[in-house]
Symmetry: C2
Subunit: 289 residues, 2 copies
């Protein structure tokens, strides 16, 4: 293997004509699991990198931004997020963040690909440490099927999926949001990985519209994650309680509390600003059609 070769994230389907590349120091592992191609490599500049089906899932350098935001945005929108479901998140990063929240008592996680979990434990221990919490119960299985059997169980459901082609496709459909709503307790909150309007605003709008059919309050929050396409990723966040104001967190933290939880991105003020979008995006995503 040539040590100076680059990993290039090319997708004609998801982001034609553009590409982010990271220089590879050493390939640590490659395999085809039952569900997807998995690659783990050490990079020159971004630490360890996990790639599924040719798409970067996380880099050691900036994964904290994503994991903190997909976890703390919904958790802090809920006044008492005792029982949480994580769908996907096989690397353990979301679990690592969710169990930090002082009100969370019980976390259930369902991940379809046990190979991602095993490889993360071996090569990404800084994320897989999330699996070690006594609050967490991990199930290997299909999140869609898992939710079909749950009703009124969870305060918060977080869907940490890959992009909407491949094994995660069903997690972006309208029926998924219907199932998620049914699995929630009253006043429940959901949060799903939501791509970026910079590349595919039509997909973001359509998924928001799926959400709107089931939830009275729906929003789109954003975080900056340099190693994702466009350097930004969004989250679909919805509440069954029509009084929820997503940009005003129910739980707030002082800087000291933020530091004690070892948060590096999320703060209460970051939460308040996460739903403010550029004018063109706000118009496209929120205006009546």
């Amino acid at each position: 293997m040539n040590p100076s070769e680059w990993f290039s994230e090319i997708s004609d389907e998801l982001w034609p004509g553009q590409c982010f590349s990271v220089k590879i120091k050493k390939v640590l592992h490659e395999e085809r699991s039952k569900f997807q191609d998995i690659k783990v490599f050490e990079s020159e500049s971004h630490g360890t990198v996990l790639v599924l089906d040719g798409i970067i899932q996380c880099t050691e350098r900036d994964e904290f931004a994503y994991q903190e935001m997909i976890s703390f945005l919904p958790l802090c929108c809920h006044p008492n997020p005792k029982k949480v479901l994580i769908v996907g998140g096989g690397d353990g990063g979301v679990a690592r963040e969710v169990v930090k929240h002082p009100l969370v008592e019980e976390v259930h996680q369902v991940e379809i690909d046990d190979r991602v979990v095993e490889l993360s434990k071996k090569y990404l221990p800084f994320m897989a440490c999330g699996f070690e919490s006594p609050k967490l119960k991990l199930t290997i299985g299909d999140g869609f099927e898992y939710m079909k059997q749950r009703e009124g169980e969870f305060d918060v459901i977080i869907t940490d999926s890959s992009d909407p082609i491949g094994p995660a496709a069903s997690l972006f459909q309208e029926s998924y949001f219907g199932l998620a709503k049914r699995a929630l307790k009253p006043n429940g909150i959901i949060c799903s990985q939501g791509g970026t309007f910079w590349i595919d605003q039509k997909h973001v709008r359509e998924t928001l519209d799926h959400c709107r059919k089931h939830f009275p309050v729906v929003g789109y929050g954003v975080a900056n994650v340099p190693s994702y396409p466009s350097g930004q990723i969004g989250f679909f966040i919805a509440s069954t309680n029509d009084q929820t104001k997503l940009s005003e967190p129910a739980t707030t933290f002082t800087d000291k509390e933020v530091d004690d939880m070892k948060l590096r991105y999320y703060t209460t003020e970051i939460h308040r600003t996460a739903f403010t979008l550029p004018r063109y995006a706000a118009k496209y995503l929120y205006d009546e059609k």
Copy 2:
């Protein structure tokens, strides 16, 4: 020329180990000017792209985000920005935005490389249209030298430079901020292109510290621009008035006013949120050292 080749933005000095690439449809122009290598190409996905010394300066697809924010953040921090100086900005994009502001009466611009201006007029007319305003007076020359001869002239000075290696190096030094301060009227505001803390927080902190030696109020605002490294760019903003609160604009706009000015990114609410940084960056850039 192979029409399916990629332009790859590699810089071992500025962002080692990572690289953003755009697929080239057609190279429109290439030359070595007196100051730098200039390349203009039509891309598959990002419209026309301007490259100086191998670094993307703007793409037709997302340049509006940068131009609007580097212009409207400082203009709206100032209660009455009548007379504005633009240093750099040879593509015309900043001029295009600055003259939109309803209180701006007179804009002076000094750009070092007339070839950028000429090529922009030919290949990037959507930006070079900024040069057509009767409010604008363009001078070809060195911004550093130009400012040495000005004292107490401008309400706002905007420095739209390339990165701190090459012809723009002097625009990031402490002496530059001293000159800028002297060229301002009382209660003046400056704003300079400021890189990103995701890649080089040490440079950002050092430049903020240069600023702090001359201005009582100094801040760092950010905008998302997908085609820049990390997908985000920051701005050094400073005021000579110690009562200025950068995150609370002196001039506010309704959505209708924003739309009438054809702004696609900037809104009053975006301005208010632009100075909120991830916890790790806020600590590094603002904590006492």
